[in-house]
């Protein structure tokens, strides 16, 4: 009797297994066919070979999507480099050319619209007052009498509050001082947006749309590569350009030369000259975020 019961049990268990086998097999096939992005580790701990493989996959994916040959760089920070930015408030005329150069260079979504740079128009009499600032100003000609302009973007803080709150460690400060986001690792919780006192981070609420003919195919994994829906993005000091020894797009486009950029550790750099010879203003200094984005008055 006991033997029969034991035999039944074995049969039952075999039947159960055979019932589940097709589901398991299908699951395994689906997993194998799945995009390897889902099984990717945090970019910081990937080996060179793993990075190369991911970059190649992304290049293929973007090239197919946009019908252009894409390059995705994973170039690391250079030695003895600490990037910083300076902006001459007395020169800025608020023409927003920097905003649109940034949009084009960094593949920002046109609809829904994302702008990493925001130019604020402020009243000269009231001074620097964010509550009274107007980002939607639209006169025929700028600068408008009695007003001045304060462009804001990621301040690339030395002590960034945004990276401390990220539960997934998907955002961090690189050795050259640039705060970056791993878009494949970001879970879209937006804690970093809440923590940033400068409103510099933006969330992709919808699938970003970039016209094929306008997309910039020269990209960096941590910078301007097209982002998916549901992740946070921000200014990276044009990491794809600056790590190749070029200026950020906003610096190049500025028609009045209000924007300065360079390596703080290079004693002969323009940024170093400004730091040593001008008195500079950092936004919300009392928060001890230690921005590497300095405002100054040239005249």
């Amino acid at each position: 009797m006991a033997d029969m019961q034991e035999n039944n049990k074995t049969k039952q268990s075999r039947r159960n297994f055979l019932k589940k086998a097709p589901v398991l097999a299908l699951g395994t096939i689906a997993m194998a066919g799945c995009n390897s992005e889902y099984f990717q580790q945090n970019f910081k701990i990937l080996s060179k070979e793993e990075k190369d493989k991911i970059v190649k996959n992304l290049e293929k994916k973007y090239s197919e999507k946009y019908g252009k040959k894409f390059s995705v760089s994973d170039k690391p920070a250079m030695d003895n480099t600490l990037f910083a930015y300076a902006l001459d408030i007395s020169r800025c005329v608020g023409c927003r050319r920097c905003v649109y150069a940034c949009v084009e260079e960094n593949n920002q979504s046109r609809d829904p619209q994302i702008h990493w740079i925001q130019v604020l128009q402020m009243n000269k009499e009231k001074g620097i007052d964010f509550h009274d600032a107007d980002v939607h100003y639209n006169p025929d000609q700028v600068p408008v009498e009695g007003h001045f302009y304060l462009p804001t973007q990621c301040q690339q803080c030395e002590n960034p509050p945004c990276i401390k709150v990220c539960p997934a460690k998907a955002t961090w400060k690189e050795p050259d001082g640039i705060v970056v986001v791993d878009y494949n690792w970001c879970i879209g919780c937006r804690y970093c947006m809440a923590a940033c006192p400068y409103g510099a981070r933006h969330f992709n609420w919808g699938e970003p749309s970039i016209p094929n003919e306008e997309v910039n195919p020269v990209t960096h994994y941590l910078g301007n590569r097209p982002r998916p829906k549901g992740v946070v993005e921000k200014c990276t000091f044009c990491v794809q350009r600056t790590r190749e020894g070029k200026y950020p797009a906003c610096v190049e486009i500025c028609p009045v030369g209000a924007r300065k950029f360079g390596n703080l550790l290079d004693p002969n750099s323009e940024i170093r000259y400004i730091m040593e010879n001008k008195r500079v203003l950092v936004l919300k200094e009392e928060l001890n975020t230690q921005p590497k984005f300095y405002y100054f008055f040239g005249v």
Binding site: L82, V93, C95, N138, Q141, L281
Partner: protein, 75 residues
């Protein structure tokens, strides 16, 4: 004599954590100073001073430019 020695040892042990703490802090400061010697010191300006400068600044740009479109209201 033994009691005095005990007392002095106890006092020494009491102060030991503070001595270690201050030595570590001092070493940390020296290390930080050595590491940061290459960075320039920031001569910062207060917001009040900046607001005064804003009022008096003269833009040296002649002429005006047409601005690029304003961002969408919902952006």
């Amino acid at each position: 004599m033994a009691k005095k020695n005990d007392e002095s040892r106890r006092n020494f042990l009491k102060k030991l954590p503070f001595s270690i703490g201050s030595t570590v802090a001092l070493a940390g400061l020296v290390f930080h100073e050595i590491n940061s010697h290459n960075k320039p010191r920031v001569k910062s300006i207060s917001k009040k001073e900046a607001n005064e400068l804003v009022k008096t600044m003269n833009s040296n740009i002649d002429g005006k430019l047409s601005p690029k479109p304003a961002p969408n209201k919902n952006a």
